[in-house]
């Protein structure tokens, strides 16, 4: 049985992963907001819950974005109608 604080912490953690992914690892104002919320939730965790969190690998701390040269890219379908919207190609 987990506490509401633990649920909050996990929810904010998922949000942090998403915010960092969207920003490709770069710092952002949204990230600061989420970190503040995580910190607040952390203060409400029990000792056991903190131990559980501490024992896990830092899922949300990876910041390096992938940098493939060739990837799925979008097409300017406004300029070239009736073409597929995505294709494998060189990243601009």
């Amino acid at each position: 049985m987990t506490s509401p604080a633990y649920e909050d912490y996990r929810r904010h953690e998922r949000h942090l992963i998403h915010v960092r992914w969207v920003n490709r690892g770069a710092a952002s104002p949204q990230e600061d907001e989420v970190l503040d919320a995580m910190e607040e939730a952390w203060t409400r965790l029990t000792e056991d819950e903190r131990r559980v969190v501490d024992a896990e690998p830092p899922r949300s701390l990876i910041r390096e974005p992938p940098a493939p040269r060739r990837a799925l890219t979008d097409r300017d379908i406004l300029d070239a109608p009736r073409t597929p919207v995505r294709a494998l190609g060189e990243v601009a």
Partner: protein, 239 residues
């Protein structure tokens, strides 16, 4: 119908955003019962684009995630929501896709979300649903006009004509800060050699509109200031 939303990232602009497009097939013969109908439509027969929501100019951007829906034209929103819900339930599966009747959907994203996929899915789904309830593009509006001439230094001058400046002012609610942009000819040529058409970028600067609003306003036409000849349009007519 082919509706798609994807988050794209531009390295050149260091910006990301979710773009969404709605296509219709208007009687085009598609076997919607075929197991690979969605793949075929997405990869080869997207149909005619009738609505879009653009936060980042499309073309050459890296795709970070996508959510696709395909089925016969005119699907009720309730059906779309059902398919989206079914897709969301299968987020952990590979390949990730769901089908209800003749409507199918799929979601994909590049690595790194690690358990937060549902947040990305929800953003793309919201963009798709907003697009489905938005007005279809009719192309009835005439394009805004940018006059292309020569500035005092012999470079290229791009200038919004008076009527277009007024339309842009009404659309944005603000007077235009820049009615013209000048650039050396070799700079323009080098930019376009490296990055492609400069037109969309100029149109955004001159009008102050978002790409989405610019398309809704009828796009932009670049006209030779002396001869009145049309040099190019964005989007291309018929798009």
């Amino acid at each position: 119908m082919y509706a798609t939303a994807h988050r794209v990232y531009s390295r050149r602009r260091d910006r990301q955003g979710v773009n969404a497009f709605l296509h219709v097939h208007e009687g085009q013969s598609i076997d919607w019962d075929a197991p690979d109908a969605l793949d075929r439509v997405a990869d080869a027969e997207p149909g005619r684009c009738v609505a879009e929501r653009i936060l980042l100019l499309p073309g050459g951007n890296e795709v970070m995630s996508y959510l696709d829906l395909a089925g016969p034209d005119g699907q009720p929103v309730a059906t779309v929501q059902e398919v989206l819900a079914a897709c969301r339930e299968r987020l952990g599966e590979r390949p990730q896709r769901a089908r209800i009747g003749q409507v199918s959907g799929r979601f994909g994203c590049v690595a790194g979300l690690r358990g937060a996929e549902e947040l990305e899915f929800d953003e793309l789904a919201a963009a798709l649903l907003a697009l489905l309830s938005s007005p279809r593009r009719t192309g009835a509006s005439s394009p805004l006009r940018v006059l292309v001439g020569t500035d005092a230094a012999g470079g290229v001058e791009y200038r919004l004509d008076a009527e277009s400046a007024e339309r842009a002012r009404r659309a944005t609610g603000q007077p235009r800060e820049r009615l013209s942009v000048g650039a050396a000819r070799d700079v323009v040529e080098e930019f376009e050699r490296l990055y492609g058409d400069l037109g969309p970028e100029l149109a955004l600067v001159l009008t102050g509109l978002s790409a989405d609003d610019l398309v809704a306003a009828g796009g932009v036409r670049f006209v030779d200031a002396r001869s009145g000849r049309t040099l190019r349009e964005w989007p291309r007519p018929g798009a």
